[in-house]
């Protein structure tokens, strides 16, 4: 039984999701880690250090839906499992790979129960499916936030493989959100803001608090749609799924679609004016009041408590 994991990477760095995916599937067999893209030498070197990786395969060339799927499908033959994180790249590529191989994929896996049994959330996390996959081979996407990361310290061999897959697509522009905060999907602490912040300027309060805590910044769909925060900060069914140790939700009432994204948070703190808000009811700890008074006080109090993680 052998496993092909497709690495996620961005701006020349291996995504933290990949080490979590490796850990998630480490019981399934020896793992080859495939890195596809341009200028990926540093990514491959990082990939080789992840514990549990037998071999790093490097396929140089522009990464795109159709070309990646063709390449992965062509490499699939010797493997029992073909796996990527359930991020925007894995979600885009893996169903295409599965259909090419005439396989039904199991996606958004949050628990590996055994070689052919998996748990995945449905209905935005309001129910959990236990799936058994009797196919000869398995295509999986893994929700990285549900797993701990594999350790480092490995020194797996790196092999460059031939990549002649062509794409019909052409990348015209990437509109990136500049931010020096941690990755939302894998952050240990997330500070999230809702539409109650009232403006993009006020949203900076959320950013200040996040900076102090070394936290990633999240936002509700309403806050994003109102222009207070960029779309890749959106947490929820349509945005990112988070599973931090601590989620601090500020001025967020808790629409179903937002709650779908935070089910995996271990502890939830809510700051809200409305004691009846669904998120306040869900929270482990709530402070009811005016967020514009509370956040500045909280910043001072955290300083007094000697807390500084940035």
């Amino acid at each position: 039984m052998s496993v092909l994991v497709v690495a996620d990477h961005d701006l020349g760095a291996l995504s933290p999701a990949t080490a979590r995916v490796i850990h998630a599937v480490s019981e399934l067999g020896p793992i080859d880690l495939l890195v596809i893209g341009q200028d990926i030498d540093a990514v491959a070197a990082e990939a080789a250090r992840v514990a549990g990786v037998t071999r790093v395969l490097v396929a140089k060339g522009a990464s795109s839906s159709d070309a990646d799927a063709s390449l992965i499908a062509a490499l699939a033959e010797p493997y029992h499992y073909i796996v990527q994180s359930a991020g925007s790249v894995g979600k885009d590529r893996m169903p295409r790979v599965a259909a090419k191989l005439d396989l039904m994929p199991v996606t958004d896996v949050v628990k590996v129960l055994g070689p052919t049994r998996f748990e995945r959330p449905i209905y935005a996390g309001n129910a959990v499916q236990t799936v058994s996959d009797g196919q000869a081979r398995h295509v999986l996407t893994i929700r990285a936030s549900a797993f701990r990361a594999a350790a480092g310290g490995n020194d797996a061999p790196i092999e460059v493989i031939e990549n002649s897959a062509a794409s019909a697509a052409r990348l015209i522009a990437a509109h990136r959100t500049e931010s020096d905060t941690p990755d939302l999907a894998t952050a240990q602490i997330v500070v999230g803001g809702g539409v109650a912040l009232g403006s993009a300027e006020n949203f900076q309060l959320i950013e200040q608090l996040a900076k102090k805590l070394g936290a990633a910044i999240g936002a509700t769909r309403a806050a994003v749609d109102a222009g207070y925060a960029p779309n890749d900060w959106q947490v929820g069914q349509t945005g990112k799924i988070i599973a931090p140790d601590l989620y601090i939700a500020i001025g967020i009432s808790g629409a179903l679609q937002h709650l779908a994204g935070i089910q995996g948070a271990k502890k939830i703190v809510a700051i809200n004016a409305d004691p009846e808000a669904p998120l306040v009811k869900l929270a482990d700890l709530a402070l009811i009041g005016d967020l514009f008074e509370i956040i500045p006080q909280l910043l001072v109090e955290l300083d007094k408590a000697g807390l500084k993680r940035d």
């Binding site: 295409r96 039904m104 996606t107 236990t130 019909a168 807390l307």
Partner: protein, 252 residues
């Protein structure tokens, strides 16, 4: 240009769902059903392309029980021209759905196939990508903007790092994300008119696709419940709580 839009009837997204006590699934009988929200964005996108002069015919296809006629009628009331219901009472896997849709694509030969990026019941997010593989067409998933440029389209996609814009040639498969547009509500005259538009009901067996499930759903369970929380009265207490949580984290 011809646009095919595939849509799904699901439990209405405002309904609080209930897992059946026997673990066989989510209760869907006696529950309000409607068009999957992402599919609605796909229908609206087709309408807007058509209104900009890029769609002579919009064909709607849905796969499901007879009652799925309702969501096809909704799409026809939004302005689509005709509908196809592939009728089955079985709950089909996404791979089987994609294979059926590939047959429809072979018959209809649309320039653009639009789908919602995922259905809010099984949250799979598979069918567009699978259909693209089976028809060997380029794909643009999670679209927040679609522009027709020359012989192709430029699609802005919502990705983990923000957004990216790609150009793909036609024919192509596009899946809709929520920010693509604001779906219209059909006016009453349109709803009346929808009933007179062609709607072909075809049994699933007609398509000769192997629909045997590949996966076994052993059970469906409710998520783990969260213990009731408490509240504090001041930022000082809150800061103390956060400091404690953080110190425990760093001990890990």
């Amino acid at each position: 240009m011809k646009i095919l839009v595939a849509i799904k009837r699901v439990v209405d997204h405002n309904v609080r769902i209930r897992v059946r006590p026997d673990g066989t699934g989510v209760e869907t009988s006696g529950v309000r059903m409607s068009m999957n929200p992402f599919c609605k964005h796909a229908v609206e996108a087709a309408m807007q392309l058509s209104e900009a002069g890029h769609g002579d015919e919009i064909v709607i296809v849905s796969i499901g029980p007879k009652a799925s006629n309702d969501v096809i009628l909704t799409a026809l009331a939004m302005g689509a021209h005709r509908g196809i219901l592939i009728e089955t009472d079985a709950e089909l896997e996404t791979l089987a759905i994609a294979k059926l849709l590939a047959k429809v694509v072979a018959e209809e030969n649309p320039d653009i196939v639009l789908l919602g990026k995922q259905a809010v019941d099984d949250d799979s997010n598979h069918v567009g990508q699978m259909l693209a593989a089976l028809t060997d067409r380029p794909q643009a998933t999670f679209a927040s903007e679609i522009k027709v440029v020359g012989q192709g389209i430029e699609v802005t996609r919502e990705v983990d790092s923000g957004r990216e814009t790609i150009a793909i040639p036609l024919p192509a498969i596009v899946t809709a994300d929520l920010r693509l547009n604001t779906p219209r509500n059909a006016a009453l005259p349109m709803v009346m008119k929808a009933r007179s538009k062609p709607l072909a009901v075809r049994p699933v067996a007609e398509f000769g696709v192997d629909l045997t499930p590949r996966l076994t759903i052993e059970k469906v369970s409710p998520p783990a419940e969260r213990a009731a929380g408490k509240s504090v009265a001041s930022a000082t207490e809150l800061a103390a709580y956060i400091a404690t949580e953080v110190s425990q984290m760093e001990a890990l």
